[in-house]
Symmetry: C2
Subunit: 287 residues, 2 copies
């Protein structure tokens, strides 16, 4: 029998990180539950987990910038990604209705994604917890009346809670991108078609174009760009970018050229792009 791989996740069983881990690995894993992203990184760095799952951006809330800092400070790299549809449900012990709820518990990101629902129900006070599914578990274990959790449908099933409202996130097409992180430095392979980079450039007109020109010349597509201010250092700017390519493109050369035209470049990971969770009909748009 094959040994199970340990994957560190933020949150616990039936959390969205757990769902992301199963979606990426399918089987053969056991999860190590962590309260914070920092703990996920530490478990991986110390070898107590083979890899970790870490949310990096959400389609409604944007990038989780502090997690980029964690990757760098803990010397970890991206070895994969997975996009997960996030459908938030409001759940409570059976026999209660929405009007009985005085408080809502969930992870800050989930509370943020449901801010409009919370504005429409101001009698419920939002309480931050370390996890969506963990909040559901506490409601069951402590038999909490008048308290609801925002969590996955799976968490409601696991803890036998009644779903009082479904899809309470602000916008329907809500997805989170999770990174698979490990200590293994990035390496090229035939399978890889995406990379995440950080680079710094001087703060002057055209400096960014010089970097992006490299990608254009090499026919490389950008899927993310995000400037990062460096307080106290207005002469320099930092950027995070994700690039994708087709098999056979001259990626190594492009990355060398980026190094040449920037003030410093770090490859955060080279990996296989995940599939976006929504159909590509173009009929609906967040914009």
């Amino acid at each position: 029998m094959k040994e199970l791989q340990t994957i560190a996740i933020q949150g616990e069983q039936a959390s969205f990180h757990h769902i992301a881990a199963r979606q990426y690995y399918h089987r053969g894993i056991e999860v190590a539950e962590c309260r914070t992203f920092r703990q996920v990184c530490e478990m991986v760095r110390e070898g107590r987990a083979a890899s970790g799952m870490m949310a990096i951006e959400n389609s409604l809330a944007g990038s989780i910038l502090p997690n980029y800092n964690l990757l760098e400070s803990q010397s970890l790299y991206i070895r994969g990604e997975v996009y997960v549809c996030i459908q938030q449900c409001l759940m409570a012990l059976p026999g209660q209705s929405l009007n009985d709820m005085g408080a809502i518990r969930s992870h800050p990101m989930a509370i943020h994604q449901c801010s409009e629902f919370l504005e429409q129900h101001p009698y419920m006070r939002a309480i931050e917890t370390f996890d969506t599914a963990g909040s559901a578990r506490e409601i069951r274990q402590q038999e909490l009346l008048g308290v609801a959790a925002i969590a996955s449908e799976e968490a409601a099933r696991l803890y036998q809670l009644t779903i009082l409202a479904r899809n309470i996130e602000n916008q329907r097409q809500n997805y989170t991108r999770f990174l698979i992180i490990s200590t293994q430095p990035p390496a090229f392979s035939d399978d890889a078609n995406k990379a995440s980079l950080s680079f710094r450039i001087g703060h002057r007109p055209g400096a960014l174009v010089e970097v992006l020109e490299v990608f254009r010349r090499c026919r490389i597509n950008l899927t993310l760009i995000q400037s990062v201010p460096i307080p106290g250092r207005p002469s320099e700017y930092a950027f995070h970018v994700d690039i994708t390519w087709q098999r056979g493109q001259a990626i190594e050369k492009a990355l060398e050229q980026v190094e040449a035209v920037s003030n410093g470049r770090r490859i955060l990971g080279i990996y296989r792009a995940g599939e976006l969770p929504y159909d590509h009909s173009g009929s609906e748009s967040l914009k």
Copy 2:
């Protein structure tokens, strides 16, 4: 006697939005307190406030993307900006110590900025409220023992609370950029040296370079760029950018050219750039 201008703010007296309003206007204003960003926008749109203050990015947490959507959906524009140093304090009723605290109340953004402090003090449960200063007020008015607020030093003074810990944000150089928003459409003036734009382009190599080339040719500097995914529409990408220029530069022409090379462009505001709050010695960096 001159009539006071009404400025809608998120939060209440001694909140960081209030501090930002005073820093921008100096005097001659009265603030209208709002519980949410949406309420700030609605007050301005309905003419009940001359303008509003809205946080748009923080140096630790990044952009508040949903506020861009609010600007667009409420047909509001940016008419100014101000950067405010955010120094978070932990405060409680006098006669108590840090170890007496079982809960912390504050605005989600403040809780986020102090996540490391909270990780180091896991016995305190973080409870989200609509405001930093409002949490301080509640502790005073309801004489809450064992509960601390994260708020400004000014809020502690206003409500006569004892500061238990100072500068508890994760990183010292923590600033928030606030926008001054109004219904007035953007217009060029000699005083303006900054603009905020959104544009959409096709998702193909080089499309972004074509837009940025316009800025390079016109010697226009970028101070922010942020890609925004459009779920369900992988053939297009949206971007938010901020640009700055020197007096006399051909900005109108540049903006026309951006329109020509993009799939759609919106000017969110044309205004005078705010001053960054930190000294420019370059000796310290967040990176």
